[in-house]
């Protein structure tokens, strides 16, 4: 086992035993990737993304005992982030208003720009403007590298639905980026 992996495992085990400082090391290591994911899942809204990321790490702390090392800790955190976002969407009616129908996506254009976060604006703006289902499929598959099957399981939809959303996302993105 490499020194890095051994150190990471040590941090996980100490955090599982209740060591907050060890958990902070895990946070420092993974926060950037989780925040990037949250930012894209939340259509470029930095306030929502920050809130989601905080929820994810608080939930991770509470559920650390359930992490058995069957997958990478980063994968476990990613899954937790997606699940937390889905839970929040279902339970927070404010967010429902942000799930715009396909015809209204122009209303979201510039969401990332207005967030104050420096991103690759053209592409990030275009992703932020996608309808939610298409955005989730695109971010998870084409940006994060999840397989169709994994996305289908996480979103509780069929593989066919994931592929259809991906196709839709790519078509809309190309229209918006290449016009």
């Amino acid at each position: 086992m490499s020194e890095d992996k051994a150190a990471a495992l040590d941090s996980i085990q100490r955090a599982q035993a209740g060591d907050v400082n060890a958990f902070e090391l895990l946070y420092r290591e993974h926060a950037g990737r989780i925040y990037a994911l949250c930012l894209r899942l939340q259509a470029g809204d930095s306030a929502d993304a920050t809130e989601l990321m905080q929820d994810v790490f608080i939930k991770a702390w509470r559920r650390l005992a359930t992490f058995r090392g069957d997958c990478a800790f980063s994968s476990w955190l990613h899954r937790l982030a997606v699940n937390t976002m889905l839970e929040n969407t279902r339970t927070d009616r404010r967010r429902v208003a942000r799930v715009l129908p396909m015809d209204d996506t122009s209303l979201l254009a510039g969401a990332a720009r207005s967030s104050g976060v420096e991103l690759k604006m053209d592409m990030e703006d275009a992703i932020a403007s996608l309808p939610k289902g298409a955005r989730l499929a695109f971010v998870l598959h084409d940006v994060e590298g999840y397989q169709h099957q994994e996305i289908a399981e996480q979103l509780s939809v069929s593989i066919g639905t994931v592929k259809a959303q991906l196709h839709r996302a790519r078509r809309l993105l190309r229209e918006r980026l290449e016009r």
Partner: protein, 229 residues
């Protein structure tokens, strides 16, 4: 294969997810079809841009202090870190009423009143809360701590189960009940803090023990009901 068929396979062709037997005919068609060739090129460019997006973006600097603060509040409340979740999934008025009883029992004034009248067993929380505690109450703080860990583990399992069934509940119901559970948890925190100050107090142990049993019972009943809905 015709152009109409092949254009639906281009996404999988570009991402390398097309089966081997289909890949050859599609490649042959692309070589001869300018429209599909342009489509493939455009898709390829998009995927490269997606892959080149930054994988990591620095979060706001104060995010960790917020997380740490929340974690430490949790620690104060339950002494263990792995079992608390605030999700609430009640849907029946029965559960709201039961939750209200718990809130009343563990509310600030209830705790203060209790602290000023220690030893009044007739008003013990377990009896007020509705007799859910059929089991024996731990006699010491050590025994209670062991039992508390068991409660928290069981609560976590039940709440995970309810998480999976959340979609069957009306969003406004979930929000309302989430708020109720948060109030209960805050009341538990207060009582737990009182026990930390007075660890030998058997009535406080009894109070908390009964409350955990109530909470677990409510979660179990709700899980059973949502499963049956």
């Amino acid at each position: 294969m015709t152009h109409e068929v092949i254009k639906h396979l281009l996404d999988d062709y570009v991402t390398g997810e097309l089966t081997e037997d289909a890949r050859g005919p599609v490649a042959d068609h692309i070589a001869a079809c300018a429209i599909c060739a342009a489509e493939v090129e455009s898709l390829g460019r998009l995927l490269v841009r997606a892959k080149n997006l930054p994988k990591s973006i620095d979060p706001p600097v104060d995010a960790w202090s917020n997380i740490r603060g929340a974690i430490e509040r949790d620690e104060d409340a339950v002494a263990v870190h792995d079992s608390r979740s605030r999700s609430a999934f009640w849907r029946q008025p029965y559960f709201l009423a039961a939750a209200a009883i718990l809130v009343a029992v563990l509310s600030s004034s209830g705790t203060a009143l209790y602290m000023s009248s220690r030893g009044v067993d007739a008003n013990s929380p377990s009896s007020i809360a509705g007799n859910a505690s059929a089991g024996a109450t731990p006699a010491t703080l050590v025994a209670f701590t062991i039992e508390e860990n068991n409660y928290l583990r069981n609560v976590a399992v039940l709440q995970d189960l309810l998480d999976q069934q959340e979609a069957s509940l009306a969003p406004e119901t979930v929000v309302q009940l989430k708020a109720s559970l948060r109030t209960i948890d805050e009341a538990i925190l207060e009582a737990r803090t009182a026990l930390a100050r007075d660890p030998a107090n058997k009535t406080l142990i009894e109070m908390l023990s009964g409350t955990y049993r109530q909470k677990m019972d409510l979660l179990r009943r709700t899980a059973e009901m949502t499963r049956g809905s």
